[in-house]
């Protein structure tokens, strides 16, 4: 009964629209009102372009940059992926050989698996943390809230190399994490149940390193999720919460039946952005575990692309890896956007 009423309520409310995953808060009603308030502005916008060529002229600068720096390199990469090329000698056309080799390349398969493993830490956990933080922040009025919000967002704006160096130090064998463990006596407790070694080499141990690297990813990405959800939650009508309270919903139910459905679009956007980040991660791993160690435990695709292209002079093979990675990203993003558009049509 309660659920039914709430869904009716939520249908009647104005849903925030998200276009192309970029506009987070869009308030069409407000801009419409603005347009009607400024007559001269409406007049100018009503004048159509006299010709298509004039429109082209405005697009041209951006188009040139896009073609030269984005489209052309992409096409080049695809072309080189069919070639045997050192990066500096004459490339030789070899058809699908690079792709055939990729299918049997254990390192590459391991790297793709690792990328998906890291996506748990880059995508799912940050979204959960983001939702949790937002539900805490938005429903309570604390003084100095903006400091919390800004502070929690800091990891997201830091350079990944800086993040990597900070965490390398934290994870160091004589670093703060190991010290804290031994000072608090937790070291002894964990050691006695066989969970930790005498000195835990977080980034060098086959068991802990993947989680340690993943955790840093979580630390970087949750801020983005939090800010996206904070923006989203503000466009959920306060009336919905009032209605929920009237029907006797506790905070958990308010979150589940009001906040979460209202944030669905934002969760999808957060998913796409963080998932892409998980698949193309390079710098963080490069700094934290020096090209994917120990062994190949934290190796990711971008590291392999780099190694093959620049260290082993196999630019063609590296290009093939990059194409496969890009294809995976495009397919998954397209799937999510399709879900999203279907979702907003239904709404």
């Amino acid at each position: 009964m309660f659920k039914k009423i709430m869904s009716q309520a939520s249908n009647s409310s104005s849903e925030p629209t998200v276009k192309h995953g970029v506009e987070i808060v869009s308030t069409p009603s407000f801009s419409e009102r603005l347009q009607s308030l400024i007559p001269w502005r409406r007049r100018t916008s009503a004048v159509p372009f006299s010709s298509g060529s004039q429109a082209l002229l405005f697009i041209l600068p951006g188009l040139i940059i896009y073609v030269v720096f984005v489209l052309f390199p992409i096409i080049g990469t695809i072309r080189y992926s069919f070639m045997e090329w050192t990066g500096f000698t004459e490339p030789e056309w070899i058809g699908l050989d690079n792709y055939r080799e990729l299918m049997d390349d254990e390192d590459f398969i391991k790297a793709i698996q690792n990328n998906f493993f890291f996506s748990i830490f880059y995508t799912i956990i940050p979204i959960l943390i983001g939702l949790f933080l937002v539900s805490l922040m938005s429903r309570s009025r604390l003084k100095g809230m903006f400091i919390f919000r800004a502070g929690l967002f800091v990891p997201q704006v830091m350079s990944p190399v800086v993040v990597g160096i900070i965490w390398r130090w934290l994870f160091d064998y004589s670093g703060p994490i190991n010290r804290a463990l031994s000072i608090t006596g937790l070291q002894g407790v964990f050691e006695s149940v066989g969970l930790l070694r005498r000195v835990t080499p977080w980034l060098g141990d086959f068991t802990y390193a993947p989680y340690a690297v993943g955790m840093v990813g979580t630390w970087v990405e949750y801020g983005l999720c939090m800010v996206l959800f904070l923006a989203g939650i503000q466009s959920i009508s306060e009336e919905l919460y009032d209605a929920a309270i009237v029907f006797g919903a506790n905070p958990l139910q308010q979150f589940w039946f009001v906040t979460l459905p209202g944030l669905r679009q934002h969760v999808l956007v957060a998913f796409v952005l963080t998932f892409i980040a998980a698949l193309r991660v390079f710098d963080l791993v490069f700094v934290l575990t020096r090209q994917g160690g120990p062994g190949r435990e934290t190796i990711v695709t971008s590291i392999l692309v780099y190694k093959n292209t620049f260290n082993l002079h196999r630019a063609g093979y590296g290009a093939a890896m990059a194409v496969v990675l890009a294809t995976i990203i495009v397919v998954i993003s397209a799937g999510v956007f399709w879900l999203q558009s279907r979702d907003s049509e239904n709404a």
Binding site: D107, V199, P294, H313
Partner: protein, 425 residues
Amino acid sequence: MKKLSLLLVVALLVATMGTTTAQDEEITLVVWDNFTREAEQEMIEELNAMFEEMNPNVTIQREAYDTSDLTQLAPRALSEDNGPDVIMVNQGFSGMGALVEAGLLLPLNDYADQYGWWDRYAEGLHARNSFSEDGTEFGTGNLYSVSNTAEVVGIYYHKSIFEELGLEVPTTWDEFVSALTTIQEGGYTPIVFGSLDGWPAIHTWGAIQHAYSDLATIDNFMYRAADGTFETEANVQAAETMLGWIENGYFSPGFEGMDYDNATYGAFIGFEGAMWLTGSWMTGSIVEDVEDAEATVGFFLLPSAAGEEVPLTIGGVGLGYGIRAGTEHADIAAAYIDLITGPEAANLLFAQGYLPAITPEEYESGTLTGDVIEAWELISSSNKVGHYLDWTAPDIAADIQEMMAGEVSPDEFTANVQEDYESGE
């Protein structure tokens, strides 16, 4: 008036043309090297000034890059018409091999005859700077570079700790192994070691591997000879020995999480451990950072486990100087290489804490630097200089880490390296 001025200009032009052809042509020699530290820069500038004095028409335009940048930039830079005339080249298939294959380096055999470079150091060392003309066979064919520095992987030790525990420098494998237990019982880490960066594992395991192996087997593997293989009894034994040392706690606790520059180095100079198995390139830093290091720190070679008198030891010559194939100033470039790899340079390099490829005129026996020079002299004159395995097996650090962590058995480890080795051909 107009005519006169024109005449003057023409006369002036002819005059200047006359002077340039009368003297030697002005030449700018572009040199790329990897001496990036400040003190090294001064040393190279000094040598360059010496060269410019000897050849007044030559101006040297020098650019310094760290080794990894240099290696990555080399292929593209050498393809340019105005690229470096002289460049330091990294050894191995992905370094020199790729450049030779692309026809970017000039063979130096004739210059080596002319200047007598062959006699500078042992023949086996020139092989490291040699490739077949098509860049596919390593260690044979043409000479493509000449080195001025050398490296030897051995053991730095604190003399005070050895004295405290009543230890002498071990000369046999058994003495070395018993020293490990003595040091451990004395409360010190026997060997400081950190494998977080990957590559130090190549040197530590590689040193044990060399102790068990003979040069021919390792040469064949490195140069990809027909019977080159990694699946040898010695390699399996070396892996088992390493695992035993890990099990016994002979290495730093938590070594998997220790990096080289800070943690491992810190553990040695902080007297946490008695010995450090690493390359002679750390001598300069140790002399700088440890009080009276010349007297209190020593260097010795890991004894042979195969019972050889002179142990087979990882080492070699540092990056060599090569000449760009397309240069117009090959003769001048060769003259420059003659100076920069010659005896004057050796003395200056030694003063900077480097181990020069040719023995410097003056050094003191019994000091740290003396120990290092004598160790190098011994192995290079006895043809006992081994190899850095990653020249041929670029991914071997990851394989060694997997073996050390028990992810794979010693047999699987050698099989994995062999598999990568074969697929890389």
